[in-house]
Amino acid sequence: MSDAASVHVALKGVDKVFERSGRPGDVVHAVGPLDLELRKGEFFAIVGPSGCGKSTLLELIAGLAVATRGEVVFEGKPIRGQIPDGVGVVFQEDACFPWLTVSDNIAFGLRRSRLGKEERHARVEGALTMMGLTAFADSYPAQLSGGMRQRVCIARTLVRQPRLILLDEPFGALDQQTRLLMGDEVLRLWRKTDATVFLITHALDEAAMLADRIGVMSARPGRLIDIVETGWPRERDSRIVQEDAFGTVTARLWRTLREESLKAIGKTGAA
Protein backbone atom coordinates (compact mmCIF):
# COMPACT_ATOMS: atom_id res chain seq x y z
CA MET A 1 0.00 0.00 0.00
CA SER A 2 2.68 2.51 1.01
CA ASP A 3 6.31 2.31 2.11
CA ALA A 4 7.22 2.00 5.79
CA ALA A 5 8.67 5.50 6.11
CA SER A 6 5.43 7.24 5.24
CA VAL A 7 3.26 5.12 7.52
CA HIS A 8 2.59 6.96 10.77
CA VAL A 9 0.08 4.66 12.43
CA ALA A 10 -0.67 1.08 11.45
CA LEU A 11 -3.47 -1.13 12.74
CA LYS A 12 -2.86 -4.79 11.98
CA GLY A 13 -5.72 -7.23 12.39
CA VAL A 14 -7.07 -5.27 15.36
CA ASP A 15 -10.05 -6.63 17.27
CA LYS A 16 -11.63 -5.19 20.38
CA VAL A 17 -13.96 -7.35 22.42
CA PHE A 18 -15.60 -6.03 25.57
CA GLU A 19 -16.95 -8.16 28.36
CA ARG A 20 -20.17 -6.76 29.71
CA SER A 21 -19.46 -5.89 33.31
CA GLY A 22 -20.53 -8.44 35.86
CA ARG A 23 -21.57 -11.02 33.27
CA PRO A 24 -18.62 -13.23 32.35
CA GLY A 25 -18.91 -14.81 28.93
CA ASP A 26 -21.32 -12.14 27.74
CA VAL A 27 -19.10 -10.31 25.29
CA VAL A 28 -19.56 -7.52 22.76
CA HIS A 29 -17.42 -7.53 19.64
CA ALA A 30 -16.96 -3.77 19.23
CA VAL A 31 -14.33 -3.42 16.50
CA GLY A 32 -12.57 -5.49 13.92
CA PRO A 33 -10.85 -7.28 12.49
CA LEU A 34 -9.53 -4.03 11.13
CA ASP A 35 -6.45 -3.07 9.12
CA LEU A 36 -5.57 0.56 8.50
CA GLU A 37 -2.52 2.64 7.72
CA LEU A 38 -2.42 6.36 8.36
CA ARG A 39 0.13 8.20 6.23
CA LYS A 40 2.38 10.72 7.83
CA GLY A 41 0.82 14.18 7.64
CA GLU A 42 -2.51 13.16 6.14
CA PHE A 43 -5.96 14.17 7.30
CA PHE A 44 -7.96 11.00 7.79
CA ALA A 45 -11.60 10.95 8.79
CA ILE A 46 -13.76 8.06 9.97
CA VAL A 47 -17.51 8.00 9.48
CA GLY A 48 -19.87 5.26 10.53
CA PRO A 49 -23.30 4.53 11.97
CA SER A 50 -23.81 5.29 15.64
CA GLY A 51 -22.50 2.63 17.97
CA CYS A 52 -20.12 1.18 15.36
CA GLY A 53 -17.05 1.53 17.56
CA LYS A 54 -15.61 4.75 16.13
CA SER A 55 -14.63 6.06 19.53
CA THR A 56 -13.23 2.67 20.53
CA LEU A 57 -11.02 2.80 17.44
CA LEU A 58 -9.74 6.21 18.51
CA GLU A 59 -9.06 4.96 22.04
CA LEU A 60 -7.09 2.04 20.61
CA ILE A 61 -4.88 4.41 18.60
CA ALA A 62 -4.48 6.76 21.59
CA GLY A 63 -3.45 3.88 23.84
CA LEU A 64 -6.45 4.50 26.13
CA ALA A 65 -7.74 1.02 25.27
CA VAL A 66 -5.84 -2.18 24.53
CA ALA A 67 -6.63 -4.32 21.49
CA THR A 68 -7.93 -7.81 22.23
CA ARG A 69 -6.16 -9.16 19.14
CA GLY A 70 -3.75 -7.66 16.65
CA GLU A 71 -1.58 -4.64 17.25
CA VAL A 72 -1.47 -0.88 16.85
CA VAL A 73 1.86 0.54 15.74
CA PHE A 74 2.71 4.23 16.16
CA GLU A 75 5.92 5.47 14.56
CA GLY A 76 7.23 1.94 14.29
CA LYS A 77 6.55 1.01 17.93
CA PRO A 78 3.62 -1.09 19.06
CA ILE A 79 1.22 0.53 21.56
CA ARG A 80 -0.02 -1.71 24.33
CA GLY A 81 -2.04 0.41 26.70
CA GLN A 82 0.97 2.69 27.11
CA ILE A 83 0.11 6.20 26.03
CA PRO A 84 2.75 7.12 23.44
CA ASP A 85 4.46 10.49 23.48
CA GLY A 86 3.50 12.83 20.66
CA VAL A 87 -0.23 12.08 20.60
CA GLY A 88 -2.88 14.69 21.34
CA VAL A 89 -6.60 14.04 21.75
CA VAL A 90 -9.54 16.44 21.63
CA PHE A 91 -12.77 14.95 22.95
CA GLN A 92 -16.37 15.79 22.14
CA GLU A 93 -17.17 16.55 25.77
CA ASP A 94 -15.87 19.70 27.37
CA ALA A 95 -12.46 18.82 28.81
CA CYS A 96 -11.52 22.29 30.06
CA PHE A 97 -10.44 22.54 33.69
CA PRO A 98 -13.07 24.82 35.25
CA TRP A 99 -10.76 26.01 38.04
CA LEU A 100 -8.08 27.35 35.68
CA THR A 101 -8.07 30.42 33.46
CA VAL A 102 -7.87 29.95 29.71
CA SER A 103 -4.12 30.55 29.59
CA ASP A 104 -3.52 28.27 32.59
CA ASN A 105 -5.63 25.61 30.90
CA ILE A 106 -3.44 25.86 27.83
CA ALA A 107 -0.22 25.93 29.86
CA PHE A 108 -1.37 22.75 31.61
CA GLY A 109 -0.43 20.84 28.46
CA LEU A 110 3.21 21.84 29.08
CA ARG A 111 3.14 21.07 32.80
CA ARG A 112 5.41 18.08 32.58
CA SER A 113 7.61 19.23 29.72
CA ARG A 114 11.20 20.21 30.35
CA LEU A 115 10.87 23.44 28.38
CA GLY A 116 12.27 26.67 29.78
CA LYS A 117 9.94 29.32 31.16
CA GLU A 118 10.29 31.58 28.13
CA GLU A 119 9.61 28.81 25.64
CA ARG A 120 6.51 27.77 27.59
CA HIS A 121 5.27 31.33 27.64
CA ALA A 122 5.93 31.73 23.93
CA ARG A 123 4.06 28.53 23.11
CA VAL A 124 1.04 29.48 25.22
CA GLU A 125 0.96 32.94 23.67
CA GLY A 126 1.28 31.37 20.23
CA ALA A 127 -1.62 28.99 20.87
CA LEU A 128 -3.76 31.82 22.27
CA THR A 129 -3.16 33.87 19.14
CA MET A 130 -3.66 30.96 16.78
CA MET A 131 -7.01 30.04 18.33
CA GLY A 132 -8.19 33.65 18.68
CA LEU A 133 -8.29 33.44 22.46
CA THR A 134 -5.91 36.26 23.38
CA ALA A 135 -8.70 38.48 24.67
CA PHE A 136 -9.94 35.65 26.90
CA ALA A 137 -6.57 34.60 28.37
CA ASP A 138 -7.66 35.48 31.91
CA SER A 139 -11.27 34.31 31.61
CA TYR A 140 -12.54 31.09 33.13
CA PRO A 141 -14.04 28.41 30.88
CA ALA A 142 -17.51 28.95 32.35
CA GLN A 143 -17.49 32.45 30.88
CA LEU A 144 -16.97 31.11 27.34
CA SER A 145 -19.31 29.55 24.77
CA GLY A 146 -19.08 25.85 23.88
CA GLY A 147 -17.13 26.62 20.70
CA MET A 148 -14.66 28.78 22.58
CA ARG A 149 -14.15 26.09 25.22
CA GLN A 150 -13.41 23.58 22.47
CA ARG A 151 -10.81 26.01 21.11
CA VAL A 152 -9.19 26.04 24.53
CA CYS A 153 -8.97 22.25 24.47
CA ILE A 154 -7.49 22.31 20.97
CA ALA A 155 -4.96 24.94 22.06
CA ARG A 156 -4.03 22.85 25.11
CA THR A 157 -3.31 19.94 22.78
CA LEU A 158 -1.41 22.08 20.27
CA VAL A 159 1.13 23.55 22.71
CA ARG A 160 2.54 20.06 23.18
CA GLN A 161 3.17 19.97 19.43
CA PRO A 162 1.80 16.46 18.91
CA ARG A 163 2.73 14.60 15.75
CA LEU A 164 -0.60 12.78 15.75
CA ILE A 165 -3.81 14.60 16.64
CA LEU A 166 -6.91 12.54 17.37
CA LEU A 167 -10.24 14.35 17.22
CA ASP A 168 -13.24 12.50 18.70
CA GLU A 169 -16.26 14.34 17.26
CA PRO A 170 -14.82 17.59 18.60
CA PHE A 171 -17.56 19.70 17.04
CA GLY A 172 -20.43 17.35 17.80
CA ALA A 173 -21.87 19.64 20.45
CA LEU A 174 -21.60 22.83 18.37
CA ASP A 175 -24.08 24.44 15.99
CA GLN A 176 -23.69 24.04 12.22
CA GLN A 177 -22.16 27.45 11.43
CA THR A 178 -19.64 27.20 14.27
CA ARG A 179 -18.78 23.71 13.06
CA LEU A 180 -17.98 24.90 9.54
CA LEU A 181 -15.78 27.69 10.88
CA MET A 182 -14.05 25.35 13.35
CA GLY A 183 -13.44 23.07 10.38
CA ASP A 184 -11.57 25.88 8.63
CA GLU A 185 -9.61 26.43 11.81
CA VAL A 186 -8.61 22.78 12.03
CA LEU A 187 -7.55 22.76 8.37
CA ARG A 188 -5.36 25.79 8.98
CA LEU A 189 -3.75 24.17 12.02
CA TRP A 190 -3.23 20.94 10.16
CA ARG A 191 -1.35 22.74 7.37
CA LYS A 192 0.69 24.71 9.87
CA THR A 193 1.72 21.86 12.16
CA ASP A 194 2.35 19.08 9.61
CA ALA A 195 0.75 16.69 12.10
CA THR A 196 -1.25 13.65 11.10
CA VAL A 197 -4.90 14.23 11.93
CA PHE A 198 -7.39 11.46 12.65
CA LEU A 199 -10.96 12.75 12.90
CA ILE A 200 -14.00 10.84 14.03
CA THR A 201 -17.34 12.31 13.05
CA HIS A 202 -20.91 11.34 12.38
CA ALA A 203 -21.29 14.21 9.91
CA LEU A 204 -20.63 13.12 6.31
CA ASP A 205 -20.21 16.69 5.07
CA GLU A 206 -17.66 17.42 7.77
CA ALA A 207 -15.61 14.37 6.78
CA ALA A 208 -15.92 15.18 3.07
CA MET A 209 -14.87 18.78 3.61
CA LEU A 210 -11.87 18.16 5.88
CA ALA A 211 -10.21 14.88 5.00
CA ASP A 212 -7.75 13.61 2.40
CA ARG A 213 -9.13 10.13 2.93
CA ILE A 214 -12.32 8.98 4.58
CA GLY A 215 -12.76 5.54 6.08
CA VAL A 216 -16.31 4.23 6.24
CA MET A 217 -17.07 1.87 9.09
CA SER A 218 -19.69 -0.87 9.18
CA ALA A 219 -22.25 -1.42 11.91
CA ARG A 220 -20.93 -3.33 14.92
CA PRO A 221 -18.47 -5.01 14.93
CA GLY A 222 -16.88 -1.97 13.28
CA ARG A 223 -14.86 -2.78 10.17
CA LEU A 224 -13.66 -0.61 7.34
CA ILE A 225 -15.92 -1.19 4.35
CA ASP A 226 -14.67 1.63 2.11
CA ILE A 227 -11.91 4.20 1.94
CA VAL A 228 -12.67 7.27 -0.16
CA GLU A 229 -9.87 9.50 -1.49
CA THR A 230 -11.20 13.03 -1.77
CA GLY A 231 -8.24 14.38 -3.79
CA TRP A 232 -8.57 17.88 -2.32
CA PRO A 233 -5.57 20.22 -2.56
CA ARG A 234 -3.72 20.85 0.72
CA GLU A 235 -4.79 24.51 0.54
CA ARG A 236 -8.53 24.31 1.09
CA ASP A 237 -11.32 25.60 3.27
CA SER A 238 -15.05 25.27 3.91
CA ARG A 239 -15.87 26.87 0.54
CA ILE A 240 -15.13 23.45 -0.93
CA VAL A 241 -18.71 22.48 -0.07
CA GLN A 242 -19.87 24.46 -3.13
CA GLU A 243 -17.95 22.29 -5.59
CA ASP A 244 -19.41 19.42 -7.60
CA ALA A 245 -16.74 17.00 -6.41
CA PHE A 246 -17.91 17.60 -2.83
CA GLY A 247 -21.36 16.34 -3.78
CA THR A 248 -19.84 13.28 -5.46
CA VAL A 249 -17.85 12.40 -2.33
CA THR A 250 -20.76 12.81 0.10
CA ALA A 251 -23.03 10.86 -2.26
CA ARG A 252 -20.58 7.96 -2.32
CA LEU A 253 -20.23 8.04 1.47
CA TRP A 254 -23.98 7.97 1.91
CA ARG A 255 -24.44 5.14 -0.58
CA THR A 256 -22.02 3.00 1.41
CA LEU A 257 -23.35 4.07 4.78
CA ARG A 258 -27.08 3.98 4.19
CA GLU A 259 -27.42 0.23 4.51
CA GLU A 260 -25.10 0.11 7.52
CA SER A 261 -27.01 2.86 9.29
CA LEU A 262 -30.27 1.00 8.68
CA LYS A 263 -28.66 -2.10 10.19
CA ALA A 264 -27.56 -0.13 13.21
CA ILE A 265 -31.03 1.33 13.71
CA GLY A 266 -32.66 -2.05 13.12
CA LYS A 267 -30.40 -3.60 15.73
CA THR A 268 -31.25 -1.03 18.36
CA GLY A 269 -34.92 -1.28 17.40
CA ALA A 270 -34.95 -5.06 17.91
CA ALA A 271 -33.06 -4.94 21.19
Binding site: L64, F91, D94, F97, P98, W99, G109, R111, R112
Partner: protein
Protein backbone atom coordinates in the same frame (compact mmCIF):
# COMPACT_ATOMS: atom_id res chain seq x y z
CA UNK B 1 -27.47 44.95 49.51
CA UNK B 2 -30.16 42.60 48.25
CA UNK B 3 -33.68 42.75 49.65
CA UNK B 4 -33.18 39.45 51.46
CA UNK B 5 -29.99 40.74 53.11
CA UNK B 6 -31.82 43.90 54.13
CA UNK B 7 -34.65 41.94 55.74
CA UNK B 8 -32.11 39.68 57.42
CA UNK B 9 -30.32 42.63 59.00
CA UNK B 10 -33.62 44.19 60.03
CA UNK B 11 -34.73 40.92 61.64
CA UNK B 12 -31.45 40.67 63.54
CA UNK B 13 -31.71 44.24 64.85
CA UNK B 14 -35.35 43.64 65.80
CA UNK B 15 -34.63 40.49 67.83
CA UNK B 16 -31.69 42.12 69.65
CA UNK B 17 -33.77 45.22 70.37
CA UNK B 18 -36.63 43.06 71.65
CA UNK B 19 -34.29 41.20 74.00
CA UNK B 20 -32.88 44.51 75.20
CA UNK B 21 -36.35 45.82 75.97
CA UNK B 22 -37.51 42.61 77.66
CA UNK B 23 -34.42 42.66 79.88
CA UNK B 24 -34.70 46.33 80.77
CA UNK B 25 -38.41 46.19 81.54
CA UNK B 26 -37.74 43.19 83.76
CA UNK B 27 -39.82 40.59 81.95
CA UNK B 28 -36.53 38.67 81.68
CA UNK B 29 -34.95 39.03 85.11
CA UNK B 30 -31.27 39.76 85.67
CA UNK B 31 -30.50 36.30 87.02
CA UNK B 32 -31.73 34.73 83.76
CA UNK B 33 -30.06 36.99 81.24
CA UNK B 34 -28.20 40.26 80.93
CA UNK B 35 -29.42 42.82 78.38
CA UNK B 36 -27.53 42.46 75.05
CA UNK B 37 -25.62 45.75 75.34
CA UNK B 38 -24.32 44.55 78.75
CA UNK B 39 -23.10 41.27 77.18
CA UNK B 40 -21.09 43.19 74.57
CA UNK B 41 -19.56 45.46 77.22
CA UNK B 42 -18.71 42.47 79.42
CA UNK B 43 -17.13 40.65 76.49
CA UNK B 44 -15.00 43.70 75.79
CA UNK B 45 -14.02 43.85 79.46
CA UNK B 46 -13.06 40.16 79.51
CA UNK B 47 -11.00 40.44 76.34
CA UNK B 48 -9.31 43.66 77.50
CA UNK B 49 -8.41 42.32 80.96
CA UNK B 50 -7.07 39.10 79.41
CA UNK B 51 -8.37 37.08 82.37
CA UNK B 52 -9.79 34.36 80.11
CA UNK B 53 -7.17 34.52 77.35
CA UNK B 54 -5.70 31.17 78.32
CA UNK B 55 -9.11 29.47 78.19
CA UNK B 56 -9.95 31.07 74.85
CA UNK B 57 -6.58 30.15 73.38
CA UNK B 58 -6.89 26.56 74.60
CA UNK B 59 -10.34 26.06 73.10
CA UNK B 60 -9.63 27.73 69.76
CA UNK B 61 -6.23 26.02 69.50
CA UNK B 62 -7.72 22.59 70.16
CA UNK B 63 -10.58 23.24 67.76
CA UNK B 64 -8.08 24.29 65.09
CA UNK B 65 -6.03 21.13 65.68
CA UNK B 66 -9.16 18.95 65.47
CA UNK B 67 -10.22 20.75 62.29
CA UNK B 68 -6.84 20.38 60.56
CA UNK B 69 -6.66 16.70 61.54
CA UNK B 70 -10.19 16.10 60.25
CA UNK B 71 -9.33 17.82 56.94
CA UNK B 72 -6.02 16.02 56.34
CA UNK B 73 -7.26 12.58 57.39
CA UNK B 74 -10.67 13.12 55.75
CA UNK B 75 -9.36 14.20 52.35
CA UNK B 76 -6.63 11.54 52.32
CA UNK B 77 -9.14 8.82 53.29
CA UNK B 78 -11.56 10.09 50.65
CA UNK B 79 -8.89 9.81 47.96
CA UNK B 80 -7.87 6.30 49.07
CA UNK B 81 -11.46 5.06 49.46
CA UNK B 82 -12.32 6.43 46.03
CA UNK B 83 -9.76 4.04 44.56
CA UNK B 84 -10.61 1.05 46.77
CA UNK B 85 -14.16 0.31 45.71
CA UNK B 86 -14.64 -2.75 47.89
CA UNK B 87 -13.45 -1.03 51.07
CA UNK B 88 -15.68 1.92 50.28
CA UNK B 89 -18.74 -0.27 49.78
CA UNK B 90 -17.92 -2.10 53.00
CA UNK B 91 -17.75 1.14 54.98
CA UNK B 92 -20.71 2.85 53.27
CA UNK B 93 -23.29 1.89 55.93
CA UNK B 94 -20.97 3.26 58.62
CA UNK B 95 -20.77 6.63 56.84
CA UNK B 96 -24.53 6.66 56.27
CA UNK B 97 -25.35 6.09 59.96
CA UNK B 98 -22.29 7.74 61.51
CA UNK B 99 -24.08 10.87 62.67
CA UNK B 100 -26.65 8.76 64.47
CA UNK B 101 -23.84 7.71 66.84
CA UNK B 102 -23.58 9.92 69.95
CA UNK B 103 -19.81 10.48 69.75
CA UNK B 104 -19.78 12.13 73.18
CA UNK B 105 -20.68 8.77 74.71
CA UNK B 106 -17.10 7.74 73.95
CA UNK B 107 -15.66 10.68 75.86
CA UNK B 108 -15.25 8.88 79.22
CA UNK B 109 -13.54 6.00 77.41
CA UNK B 110 -11.16 8.45 75.72
CA UNK B 111 -10.36 10.07 79.07
CA UNK B 112 -9.52 6.64 80.50
CA UNK B 113 -7.26 5.98 77.52
CA UNK B 114 -5.55 9.37 77.19
CA UNK B 115 -6.08 11.10 80.54
CA UNK B 116 -7.87 14.39 81.21
CA UNK B 117 -5.75 16.49 78.83
CA UNK B 118 -6.26 18.01 75.40
CA UNK B 119 -6.01 14.70 73.50
CA UNK B 120 -9.48 13.26 74.24
CA UNK B 121 -11.13 16.60 73.46
CA UNK B 122 -9.28 16.98 70.18
CA UNK B 123 -10.21 13.39 69.33
CA UNK B 124 -13.90 14.11 69.95
CA UNK B 125 -13.75 17.15 67.67
CA UNK B 126 -11.85 15.18 65.06
CA UNK B 127 -14.24 12.21 65.19
CA UNK B 128 -17.24 14.50 64.76
CA UNK B 129 -15.75 16.26 61.74
CA UNK B 130 -13.78 13.67 59.83
CA UNK B 131 -16.66 11.70 58.32
CA UNK B 132 -18.29 14.84 56.95
CA UNK B 133 -15.00 15.57 55.18
CA UNK B 134 -14.68 12.00 53.86
CA UNK B 135 -18.26 11.92 52.55
CA UNK B 136 -17.97 15.30 50.83
CA UNK B 137 -14.55 14.47 49.35
CA UNK B 138 -15.96 11.26 47.90
CA UNK B 139 -18.94 13.18 46.54
CA UNK B 140 -16.60 15.61 44.78
CA UNK B 141 -14.32 12.88 43.42
CA UNK B 142 -17.34 10.98 42.06
CA UNK B 143 -18.19 14.01 39.94
CA UNK B 144 -14.87 14.38 38.13
CA UNK B 145 -15.85 13.93 34.44
CA UNK B 146 -14.35 10.90 32.69
CA UNK B 147 -13.06 13.16 29.94
CA UNK B 148 -10.81 14.93 32.45
CA UNK B 149 -9.42 11.59 33.59
CA UNK B 150 -8.76 10.62 29.97
CA UNK B 151 -7.04 13.98 29.47
CA UNK B 152 -4.78 13.14 32.40
CA UNK B 153 -3.88 9.79 30.86
CA UNK B 154 -3.15 11.36 27.48
CA UNK B 155 -0.89 13.87 29.27
CA UNK B 156 0.85 10.78 30.70
CA UNK B 157 0.24 11.81 34.30
CA UNK B 158 0.72 9.25 37.07
CA UNK B 159 -2.00 8.51 39.67
CA UNK B 160 -0.56 10.90 42.28
CA UNK B 161 -0.22 13.79 39.80
CA UNK B 162 -3.75 13.10 38.54
CA UNK B 163 -5.23 13.29 42.05
CA UNK B 164 -3.21 16.36 42.96
CA UNK B 165 -3.66 18.39 39.76
CA UNK B 166 -7.06 17.23 38.48
CA UNK B 167 -9.26 15.26 40.89
CA UNK B 168 -8.77 17.37 44.02
CA UNK B 169 -8.98 20.79 42.28
CA UNK B 170 -12.16 19.63 40.56
CA UNK B 171 -13.58 18.42 43.89
CA UNK B 172 -12.49 21.57 45.78
CA UNK B 173 -15.95 23.17 46.16
CA UNK B 174 -17.35 19.91 47.56
CA UNK B 175 -14.38 19.51 49.92
CA UNK B 176 -15.05 23.06 51.07
CA UNK B 177 -18.58 22.02 52.01
CA UNK B 178 -17.01 19.34 54.16
CA UNK B 179 -14.64 21.93 55.63
CA UNK B 180 -17.54 24.14 56.70
CA UNK B 181 -19.10 21.22 58.55
CA UNK B 182 -15.73 20.26 60.06
CA UNK B 183 -15.28 23.79 61.49
CA UNK B 184 -18.66 23.61 63.19
CA UNK B 185 -18.18 20.04 64.39
CA UNK B 186 -14.71 20.62 65.81
CA UNK B 187 -15.97 23.60 67.84
CA UNK B 188 -18.99 21.61 69.02
CA UNK B 189 -16.76 18.69 69.93
CA UNK B 190 -14.20 20.69 71.88
CA UNK B 191 -16.64 22.91 73.76
CA UNK B 192 -19.02 20.04 74.43
CA UNK B 193 -16.21 17.95 75.86
CA UNK B 194 -15.06 20.89 78.00
CA UNK B 195 -18.59 21.18 79.36
CA UNK B 196 -18.70 17.53 80.35
CA UNK B 197 -15.28 17.16 81.96
CA UNK B 198 -12.21 19.34 81.59
CA UNK B 199 -9.60 21.38 83.38
CA UNK B 200 -10.00 24.52 81.31
CA UNK B 201 -11.21 26.10 78.10
CA UNK B 202 -14.22 28.19 77.11
CA UNK B 203 -16.69 25.36 77.63
CA UNK B 204 -15.31 24.78 81.11
CA UNK B 205 -15.47 28.49 81.95
CA UNK B 206 -19.06 28.78 80.72
CA UNK B 207 -20.10 25.80 82.80
CA UNK B 208 -18.16 27.15 85.81
CA UNK B 209 -19.80 30.57 85.45
CA UNK B 210 -23.21 28.92 85.13
CA UNK B 211 -22.74 27.04 88.39
CA UNK B 212 -21.77 30.29 90.13
CA UNK B 213 -24.60 32.39 88.68
CA UNK B 214 -21.90 34.48 86.98
CA UNK B 215 -23.87 35.80 84.01
CA UNK B 216 -21.26 38.50 83.42
CA UNK B 217 -18.86 35.76 82.27
CA UNK B 218 -21.23 33.15 80.85
CA UNK B 219 -23.08 35.24 78.26
CA UNK B 220 -20.02 37.07 76.87
CA UNK B 221 -18.28 33.72 76.31
CA UNK B 222 -21.33 32.30 74.54
CA UNK B 223 -21.38 35.40 72.34
CA UNK B 224 -17.67 34.98 71.59
CA UNK B 225 -18.15 31.36 70.51
CA UNK B 226 -21.03 32.40 68.26
CA UNK B 227 -18.95 35.16 66.70
CA UNK B 228 -15.96 32.90 66.02
CA UNK B 229 -18.04 30.09 64.53
CA UNK B 230 -20.16 32.38 62.36
CA UNK B 231 -17.16 34.36 61.10
CA UNK B 232 -15.19 31.28 60.03
CA UNK B 233 -18.25 29.75 58.40
CA UNK B 234 -19.03 32.95 56.50
CA UNK B 235 -15.47 33.21 55.23
CA UNK B 236 -15.54 29.61 54.00
CA UNK B 237 -18.98 30.10 52.45
CA UNK B 238 -17.72 33.18 50.62
CA UNK B 239 -14.74 31.25 49.29
CA UNK B 240 -17.02 28.40 48.21
CA UNK B 241 -19.32 30.84 46.46
CA UNK B 242 -16.41 32.39 44.59
CA UNK B 243 -15.31 28.96 43.33
CA UNK B 244 -18.85 28.15 42.24
CA UNK B 245 -19.31 31.47 40.42
CA UNK B 246 -15.98 30.91 38.64
CA UNK B 247 -17.44 27.64 37.40
CA UNK B 248 -20.69 29.26 36.36
CA UNK B 249 -22.66 27.24 38.87
CA UNK B 250 -24.46 30.06 40.57
Amino acid sequence: MTRAALFRSALFVLVVALLEILCRVGIIDKLTMQPPHRIVIDLWRILASGSLNAAIAKTLGNAATAFVLAMVVGVASGVVLHRLKLVRETLDPLFATYYAIPIFAFYPLLIILFGLGDAPQILIGFMLGVVAVIVNTLNGLDRVPRTLMKTARIARMGPVATVWSISLPYAAPYILTGAKLAVAYSLIGIIGAEFIMSRGGMGYEISFAYNNFDNATMYPLILLILLVSITINMLLARWEKRLMIRRGQR
